[in-house]
Structure formats: structure tokens, C-alpha cells
Amino acid sequence: MISSRFSKLLSWSYLAALYGFIFLPVAVLVLFSFQDGRLPVPPFNGATLKWYGEVFSDSRLMSALTNSLMVAIGSATVACVLGFCAAYGLARFVLPASRLQRGLLIAPMTVSYLIIALGLLTTFNWLGVSLSLWTVGIGHVVINLPLCFAIIYASMGDHQKNIERAARDLGAAEWQVMTQVSAPMLMPSILAAFFLSVTFSWDEFIIAFLLSRFDVTLPVEIWSMLRSGLNPKTNAVGSVVFLVSVALLLILELIVFRRTAKK
């Protein structure tokens, strides 16, 4: 009796420790964003929303937030379109060295963001392209394309191949098959790829830092704020970033996975 109670206690405390390990940093971050004082460190002096007020009235932070959203949505859209086209081509046609091509498309996943950023930086310098949000966007397409390709490619089965064949048989041209049959049919996985890409782009720092100059994304702006020391305002903006990521994941869960489960 006692031993079973003890083991139950042990397993519950293990669970608590596990989630504590994962979520404690975030919880502390969010908690001290409400800190009524100059420093986001214990003790907690009481709750205030003033730091959030400062975040939303800080024009540099707000423009960085807009930049982040533009880069995230733009790069995710491009990555999904390219990923879908690549997946369609490789899944539906006999192409030379298709295994190698698949490998090459997925390979960037294994390369660290730092190396990708350095490579792109060198390339842009060599080509004489000046750094801007566009170059950040291109960098995010590079990192998200393999993900989009892998997710969409995995969902293309033989059953859908027959459905596409039926569409062609009924007179659809190839682009009509892609836009009216394949893409709508694969929409759950395309949306999953899109929202994951948006989330990754939204959080990404290294590429955004190395490939941007005057206009920066939110993580880069936060980093430059951090250089002037800890401040509950950085906690507040960090909480906003976290909240947006959670919101994106919830959308993904609700729209995409629920839709897939229904079928």
C-alpha cells in the first residue's frame, strides 16, 4: 500500500520535474514581464501591465514585429509553393536521379542555420545583393523548403495519384490538376507545412541577424535590446513572441489536424 503510494508520488513528481524543466524558463519569463519594478529578477514585487504598454508604444519594436510577420508569411508561402511543386514533380513523374534529388532537397535540414547564413551572406556579397528583409526571407525559404517538401511529399499517396489520373481523363490540363485537384486534396498537409514554416521563421534569429541590415525582425530587435541589460520590457516582448507561437500552433492543431482526423 505504502510502496504503491510512494511509487505513484514518485511518478507524479517525475512528471512535474519534466514539465518544470521544459516550461519553467518560459513561465519565469512571462511572470517577470508583469514585474512592477526595474529588474526582471526575484523577488516578484507585484503585477503591472506597464511593460506591455511600453512594448506596444515602442515604434521600433512594432515595426520589427510587422517585419517579422511579413517575412514569416512571405517566406512560408514561397516555401510551400516551391515545396508543393517539388513534391508533385518527384511523386508523380519519373525524373532522373529522383532519389538523389529528394536527398538534396531535404539535405539543408541537416546543416546548421549558422552555416546556411554564412553561405548566403557570402553569396549575396559576391552577387552584390545588399542585405534587407528580402535576403532574410530568402534565408527562411532555404531553411523551410526542405520541411515543406518533406511534409507534402509524405502525404502524396498512390490513391491520390489515381484521383489525379481521373481528373486528367476528364480533360484537366496539368496545371488544372495541380490547382484544382492535388492542392485542395493535400490542403491539410500544405497548411501544416505553412504554419510550421511561419512558426520557425517567426522564432528564427541567426539567419535574420546575419542577413539583415536596417530593417530587422523581432528576434534581432530583442537581441539588441538585451545588449543594454535585462529589463521587464524584454520579458514582455518575449512573452508576446511566445504567445504568437502558441497561437500559431493552436491554429495548426485546430484547423489542420482536426480536419485530417475527421476524414
Binding site: 490513391h159 489515381n162 484521383i163 489520373r165 481521373a166 481528373a167 486528367r168 481523363d169 476528364l170 480533360g171 484537366a172 490540363a173 488544372q176 484544382q180 485537384v181 485542395p184 486534396m185 490542403m187 476524414k263
Partner: protein
């Protein structure tokens, strides 16, 4: 709309496998043709050649007198009804059926009206707003038929359309398919491996085996006057009695078998030479009691080994007195009393016996049933 189809010397080779070997077939406009054969016989390959999903290694295919050599599936006057229906899962039934018309740039109102008309024909008018996943297998099948017919093809290709349905629904859909075909008049080419389905539905059956056409004819002809041992065994249960052709007179032929010499009326001389190996093919239902009118011949007495009741008849295994190693399957009348060990007379109408070239590859008639 409807059109004749003409297949001339079509051959299809995949690597070192010959899927179709010099096939020639003329299909009349408005005909219901069933391509029948075991899996791997080339029937689906032939259908894919007609639909344009494959192109022949050699030979030509003409639809309505036009060579289809370089014509893509989308441009052919054919549509295909796929085995797994291949409905568009994200579209309503109305949009599914109207898809082909949309691709032909038919206006929205017009194509929706046409789609609803076709859904009405297959009995699904009230479900036009549903999605395919809300339907049963038989209903999906009807939608697939409506979708394929919406663009008014000259030729409808059906790839094992009833394969995924249970038996009762399959029989019901056979009747519907045939009725709809008669109504719209389109040439139907239907692939199946089910010989009962083929007989129930076809105007003409094309029996295929190993990439070749074994036999072509009406269901009655194919069943009762098969031209080859393969066709005879594929079309249903049959007893093969191997023998040797002895002689022919003006009115009769005689064949020597292990059950004695059998005299048969000469109905069609197929160039048998004396001494040639032949096989007598006899359907189980052709064994009849010795009473009755009409010509009768007998293969001697046989002992009943066992019997089982099938509702419409008793199916019995018999071993002939003259050659006990042979097993004969016979259908006896419902009212017959089948007792193992009893002796019966193997009486039959000589006109129902078919004489075929060669000997069956396997000696027992049992193994010949598909």
C-alpha cells in the same frame, strides 16, 4: 454519344514481359463489351491503351475512325471509371460530376444542371451537396459513373467497377449498369475477372489469357460453345473428358474416350484429323436423367461419391464405372435423392457436348473451375 472502336494488332511489351500479344478487335458503336480473364491476362493493359494511359508498342487503336496514336487521355472521346472510383474528396457530388464539363469550359449553371440530371439518373439527386466520404461504396460507384458519363464520351471504359462491392450489391449494380448503358447508348468496355458478371452484363464477351484473345462471342456462345479449353474452364464448372478423334461421317463424328466411344452429331467441323487429341467438355447441368424427349447418349453408369444441395440443384461427384479414377461433377434436379453409393446413368443430350482441340493441362475437371 457513341462510336465504334477498332484495335488492330495491338502489342504492349513491358521490358521482357509481353502484356498484350497482337490483339485485334472490332467493337461496334453502342456495344457493351466485357474483357474477361484472370489477373495478368492483359485486360487492364488493353483498357489503358484505349484510355490513352499507355501507348501500344506496336499496332493501332482507332475510335470513330480516328487514329488515337498521339492523342492524350484528356483529348480522347473516352472516360474511365476507376476501380477505386477516384472521386475528388474535397468536392461535393455535384462538383465531382460537373468537373469534366468545367474543364470543357461549360458555364456554371449549365454544368450544375447537367450534373444534377446525371445524379438523378443514378438515384442520388438529393445528395448533390454531400461529399464523397459521406457515401457508401455503391453510392460512390454511382457517382463515378455519373461523373464519367457527364462529358458524354463516345466510349466509357470501366476498370473492374464492381470489384469493391459485396455480392448482392454487385448483382444489383450490374443490372443498373446495363440499363444505363442501354439508355445512353455509349459504347461500354468493361474489365472484370468475374465470369458471372460478364455473362450478366455483356453484349459480347472477350475472353483473354496470357496477353491474347481466347474467344469472342455472346455470353451464350462463350458459355455453351467455347472455342478453347481455357474458355470452357474459365466460364464455369466443366467436366473434361480427354479422347482421340476417330472418324467423321456426313452426320456424325466419333470420339474414343476412356468412357467408351462417343458418337456426336456433326455440328461444326473444326478440322479434326483422325487420331488427333481432343477433349469433350460437358457442363455439370447437362447430365440429365434418362427420361425425357430428344436425342440421348450415355457415358455408362457412375457411382455417386457425395452430393451437396445448392438450392437450385444438387451438386454431386460421380465416379464412372468404366474409369473410376475420373471424377465427374454433375448437377442433379432439386427433387433428386442423392445417396452416396447409388448408381446413376450418365445420360446427356449429344448436342450439348463440345469438342475441343488438345487435352487439358490438368487432368481433374475440379481444378479447372476459376
Amino acid at each position: 454519344m457513341t462510336a465504334p472502336v477498332s484495335i488492330r494488332n495491338a502489342t504492349k511489351i513491358f521490358g521482357d514481359f509481353t502484356a498484350l500479344d497482337d490483339i485485334s478487335l472490332e467493337i461496334a458503336a453502342g456495344e457493351y463489351i466485357v474483357l474477361l480473364g484472370p489477373s495478368g491476362c492483359g485486360k487492364t493493359t488493353l483498357l489503358s491503351l484505349l484510355g490513352g494511359f499507355l501507348s501500344p508498342s506496336s499496332g493501332t487503336i482507332e475510335i470513330n475512325g480516328k487514329d488515337m496514336g498521339d492523342v492524350a487521355p484528356a483529348k480522347r472521346p473516352t472516360t474511365t471509371m476507376f476501380q477505386d472510383y477516384a472521386l475528388f474528396p474535397h468536392m461535393s457530388l455535384r462538383d465531382n460530376v460537373a468537373f469534366g464539363l468545367k474543364m470543357r469550359k461549360v458555364g456554371k449553371a449549365e454544368r450544375h444542371a447537367k450534373a444534377e440530371e446525371l445524379l438523378d439518373m443514378v438515384g442520388l439527386k438529393t445528395s448533390a451537396n454531400k461529399k464523397p466520404h459521406e457515401l457508401s461504396g455503391g453510392q460512390r460507384q454511382r457517382v463515378a459513373l455519373a461523373r464519367a458519363l457527364a462529358v458524354e464520351p463516345d466510349v466509357l471504359l470501366l476498370d473492374e467497377p464492381l470489384g469493391a462491392l459485396d455480392l448482392k450489391l454487385r448483382r444489383q449494380m450490374q443490372d443498373e449498369l446495363k440499363a444505363i448503358q442501354k439508355r445512353v447508348g455509349t459504347t461500354f468496355v468493361h474489365v472484370t475477372h468475374d465470369q458471372e458478371e460478364a455473362m450478366a452484363i455483356a453484349d459480347r464477351i472477350v475472353v483473354m489469357n496470357a496477353g491474347r484473345i481466347e474467344d469472342v462471342g455472346s455470353p451464350e456462345n462463350i458459355y455453351m460453345q467455347p472455342k478453347t479449353i481455357f474458355t470452357a474452364s474459365f466460364m464455369g464448372e466443366v467436366n473434361f473428358i480427354p479422347g482421340t478423334f476417330e472418324s467423321a461421317t456426313d452426320s456424325t463424328i466419333s470420339v474414343k474416350t476412356s468412357l467408351g466411344t462417343v458418337e456426336l452429331p456433326e455440328f461444326e467441323c473444326r478440322g479434326f484429323a483422325p487420331g488427333a487429341s481432343v477433349t469433350l467438355a460437358i457442363r455439370p447441368e447437362h447430365f440429365r436423367a434418362s427420361t425425357g424427349t430428344g436425342p440421348r447418349i450415355t457415358l455408362g453408369k457412375a457411382k455417386v461419391e457425395d452430393g451437396s444441395f445448392f438450392g437450385t440443384h444438387h451438386r454431386a461427384h460421380l465416379s464412372p464405372l468404366d474409369y473410376p479414377n475420373m471424377t465427374i461433377t454433375a448437377h442433379m434436379p432439386q427433387s433428386a435423392i442423392i445417396e452416396p453409393g447409388a448408381w446413376v446413368e450418365l445420360t446427356l443430350d449429344p448436342t450439348s457436348v463440345v469438342v475441343l482441340h488438345g487435352h487439358p493441362p490438368r487432368p481433374t475437371p475440379e481444378s479447372a473451375a476459376p
